[in-house]
Amino acid sequence: MVERAYARRTMSTTISLRVNGQDERHDVEPNQTLLAFLRDTLDLTGAKEGCNEGECGACMVLVDGRAVNSCLMLAVEADGREIITIEGIGDAEHLHPLQAAFLKHTAVQCGFCTPGMIMTAIGLLAENPDPDEAAVREAMAGSLCRCTGYRQILDAIHEAAGVMRVVPAVEFGMRGPAGPSGVAPGLMAPGSAEAAAGVKVLGLPEMAP
């Protein structure tokens, strides 16, 4: 019979932050990373741990609009910040243009790097809405993919950037709190003009005739 051991909560700190449009208040350990906090405390497992050294980009999230390796940031440092994770940018009904473009170009293979890739790309396009290929390569160099050979990812980012320039009304991934419609930040409201425009410009992946 095993006697279950529990962690003693030593020196824990309370943080307040906004995650995907929701206000959160939690006790965190001083050594807990933002990645561990998101995954273990909030059950947001879309950000992945590929190295825990900030060398692969699989854990990328937006902190106040900038793409950050969440394994390199402590949870206590996220106090007062606004965090957006892959779960906060789109869902099956209302894909973010980058998600739709990744599907369309089959830029998704094993999928482990995909959430981090998309969040890195959102960070890039927020700073530079019309990057040339060299700029994309530079900005995405910290996000590793072992499956695709990257060509499909470059194509997807290029195409999504085009869509997002056509639909400037939506600040994808960096909207404020959920509006009255209850739509999470970064989502295109269902049936909205923005969503329709995005889908139209992008075109959806081919489905069976």
């Binding site: 095993v2 279950r4 051991a5 529990y6 497992t45 869902d91 089959t106 293979q109 999928g111 995909t114």
Partner: protein, 779 residues
């Protein structure tokens, strides 16, 4: 053949879960009562364990149990081919990444903290990190008792040495062939250790349950091998071991066989009733799972002055690491595939698999083919120069094709594909225009490689499929094939849609493997899923159609062979208005009075390669005459000031028989090419003389980033249908990794006149060679 779904860019079914962050990988799984393990790795690569003191660790915060391997080697021995693997070091350690002790605690942090409090005393032994050192006379033995290990017939260690397996293939008389040749070329090549380095590190959860079940989750491609091995070792019926495979975040080979599960099972055995979870750190993923390659290849080719290849002699010294089981067949495959895409009338091909004090070497995308064909394709270019012959003319004279006989003794047919066509496509794409002239900044070069891939399986390597019709006419399909990103679920769906004539959206393909429900599959390796798994899906689908026709023949009162099926109805071929809906047949047909006839529409089927066999006394045998051919070429640029090599354009063409999904097949090729552009230019897992891995981090084991992606990748498929796979399809998963290293090194010669015989050619090595050449030195 007019196809409706096969060959179309239909989105893969798992893409949306993955792109929305909802796909569930091993690390995302949490179970009630879960405990966490951390594993201690030794301070020596080869040493006797004098003592392990766990007292202090046991009282560390949150610790439930501290575990050592003491005495485990008598009871717990693993291995499919050679049972040399122990779950935890017992009496001695054989490599620095080996599990030596473990802490089970309430959370991973507590477990890691306690590890630091374990004290170990060692008696160091000599360390060998390369096969040639471990083979030297008088070398200390890494496995003193290798003679007592169980092994499959035909493979096994040579007691009293560090040789884990010796394979030799003889076709014709190589000595005579070489003697009679007009020209002989020879060289030694090195393909160093590499890591598959999937973005998702390896890991497992093991739970010994109250009812005697052992439940396991693993980021693996071999649930059934894990089940069979764990059941054997723990003396349980296989049915009492249940293995789940969630989404796998990349594999590329190293999550095959049993690699970490035996250790987590051993640890979890100390806390029955609690699931124990362990996920490798990135460092552990490099040092304590499987590595790839580690081969020195000595190759000698004899040819006539007209370019006819006469004889090939290959000797491969393969460093297999501390445990050889998974390396056995990689080593064998490297030897018998070292002919590459050419027919040699005389062959003497051998591989010497050698224990070393490094992590075990196992499957790595390509499975022996890239290593041996790196040597072959470099040496063919060298031979062409010696013969003063256009390398394309030399190759074309000797390509394997219909009527030609492989090293294994298999005669090829048209249905094995058209290598010449692939070769011509690549010649046109890369070599037709004049070569770019050197300028003040760069040298430019182009290089080519032809590619041959045999399947590597086992005589029992079946794959199977279960197809179930639902009452609304939708379909569920279950297979044992592991989705690791290659997209096999979409292959299953499209093949089934085509066969059953229903829309892919109406077909749900499994999202998890669970040995309790999934039909049996040996393991998802060898680029064989599309061919074999796809065939199993087709066969199961055809069985369901037959079931529906059989029931309909009773309902419509006619002979079964007069009926046709179109996805919606089964109807009389002479009068399609006489028909019955599929939805009325799936649970059997119910008459108005409530009576039901006919069976429930569901079927299981398997598929294997026909007449696949083991080896005879000459090392020859049958691969089910199932080969795939292709051609690849690189256009590169070498920066004069730094030696930095850039691949501007890479072109690949394979005869895949039939393209099932164009975007996915392109993704397999572009990804595979990128992976071994990395092997050619940067990647090497390095060990110092103490056996310590010096670069187990992404920042030091540099693999290609998006900045390294070629500006252009040409991917063009040839479709000469094969006879086994669905709609003629052959495999493609591993093939693209074979050609890039030799093509790039051939391009380096083309650009600079410098011969390299080993990879990676880093900027430092390139710059040094350029400087030496400029100084008039020999290279």
């Amino acid at each position: 053949m007019s196809l409706k779904f096969v060959g179309k860019n239909i989105t893969r079914p798992d893409a949306i879960q993955k792109a929305t962050g909802k796909a569930r990988f091993l690390a995302d799984i949490h179970l009630p009562g879960m405990l966490y393990a951390a594993i201690l790795r030794p301070g020596y690569a080869h040493a006797r364990i004098i003592s392990i003191d766990t007292t202090e660790a046991e009282t560390s915060e949150g610790v439930v149990k501290v575990v050592t391997g003491k005495g485990c080697s008598d009871k717990y021995r693993y291995g499919d081919n050679i049972r040399d693997l122990v779950p935890m070091a017992d009496e001695k350690v054989r490599y620095m990444g080996e599990p030596l002790a473990a802490v089970i605690a309430g959370n991973p942090h507590q477990a890691k903290q306690a590890l630091k409090k374990i004290k170990v005393e060692y008696e160091p032994l000599p360390v060998y990190t390369q096969a040639l050192d471990a083979l030297a006379p008088g070398a200390a033995l890494i496995h003193e008792d290798s003679g007592s290990y169980w092994h499959l017939p035909g493979v096994g260690p040579k007691p009293g040495t560090n040789i884990a397996n010796h394979y030799r293939l003889r076709k014709g008389d190589a000595e005579k062939g070489l003697r009679e040749s007009d020209v002989v070329v020879e060289a030694e090549f090195k393909y160093p250790f590499g890591s598959c380095a999937a973005l998702e590190p390896h890991g497992a959860i093991v739970w010994f349950q109250e009812d005697g079940m052992i439940e396991i989750w693993s980021s693996s491609i071999c649930p059934f091998i894990i089940r069979e091995e764990v059941a054997r070792v723990y003396e349980r019926p296989e049915s009492d071991v249940r293995v789940h495979i969630p989404e796998v975040g990349g594999c590329f080979g190293y999550k095959s066989d049993i690699t970490v599960e035996q250790t987590i099972a051993y640890i979890a055995g100390f806390v029955p009733g609690h699931p124990v979870k362990w996920v490798a750190s990135r460092k552990e993923d490099f040092t304590s799972t499987l590595l790839g390659h580690g081969m020195i290849i000595r190759m000698k080719i004899g040819a006539m002055s007209d370019g006819r290849l006469m004889a090939l002699k290959t000797t491969i010294y393969h460093s297999t690491g501390a445990y050889s089981d998974t390396g056995v067949h990689v080593s064998i495959a490297a030897a018998h595939n070292s002919t590459g895409a050419y027919e040699y009338p005389h062959c003497d091909l051998e591989s010497i698999l050698t224990y070393t004090n490094t992590p075990a070497v196992g499957a790595f995308r390509g499975y022996g083919h890239p290593e041996a064909q790196f040597a072959q394709e470099r040496l063919i270019d060298i031979l062409a120069r010696k013969l003063k012959m256009d390398p394309f003319v030399l190759r074309e004279k000797n390509y394997l094709g219909p009527g030609k006989v492989t090293a294994l003794g298999e005669r090829l047919h048209q249905t094995n594909g058209d290598l010449r066509k692939c070769s011509d496509i690549i010649k046109k794409a890369v070599f037709e225009k004049p070569k770019q002239e050197e300028d003040s900044e760069y040298y430019y070069g182009r290089g080519f490689a032809a590619v041959m891939k045999s399947p590597k399986g086992a005589p029992f390597s079946s794959k199977s499929a279960y197809v179930k019709f639902n009452t609304d006419g939708s379909v569920v399909i279950n297979c044992g094939g592991a989705e690791v990103g290659q997209g096999l679920r979409n292959v299953v769906r499209l093949v089934a849609a085509e066969t059953l004539k229903i829309a892919p959206e109406r077909i749900h393909v499994y999202t998890e493997i669970d040995t309790q429900f999934s039909p049996w599959e040996w393991q998802t390796i060898g680029s064989m899923f599309t061919k074999q798994g796809g065939r199993a899906v087709m066969r199961a689908c055809q069985k369901t159609i037959e079931q529906m026709k059989h029931t309909a023949s009773q309902v419509l009162r006619c002979d079964v062979d007069l009926l046709e099926y179109d996805g919606e109805y089964v109807y009389l071929s002479s009068d399609p208005s006489i028909r019955v809906e599929v939805t009325k047949l799936v649970r059997g047909y119910m008459y108005e009075n409530g009576m039901v006839v006919g069976e429930v529409v569901q079927a299981c089927a398997d598929a294997r390669l026909p007449r696949y066999s083991g080896f005879d006394e000459n090392g020859q045998g049958s691969m089910g005459v199932s080969y795939t051919f292709g051609a690849q070429a690189a256009e590169i640029r070498i920066e004069k000031s730094t030696g930095k090599i850039t691949v501007d354009h890479f072109a690949s063409s394979f005869d895949v028989g039939r393209v099932i999904q164009p975007q996915q097949i392109r993704g397999q090729v572009t990804g595979g090419v990128m992976m071994t552009i990395g092997a050619a230019l940067f990647e090497e897992v390095r060990f110092d003389e103490t056996g310590k891995c010096v670069n187990p981090y992404f920042s030091k084991y540099r693999f290609p980033t998006i900045k390294d992606a070629p500006l252009r990748q040409t991917v063009q498929m040839v479709e000469t249908p094969g006879t086994i796979g669905p709609f003629g399809a052959r495999g493609i998963g591993e093939h693209p990794v074979i050609g890039p290293p030799p093509a790039i090194l051939n391009a380096i010669y083309d650009a600079t006149g410098i011969e390299f015989f080993e990879i990676p050619v880093t900027p430092d090595k390139m710059k040094k060679a350029l400087d030496e050449k400029a100084a008039g030195g020999n290279t």
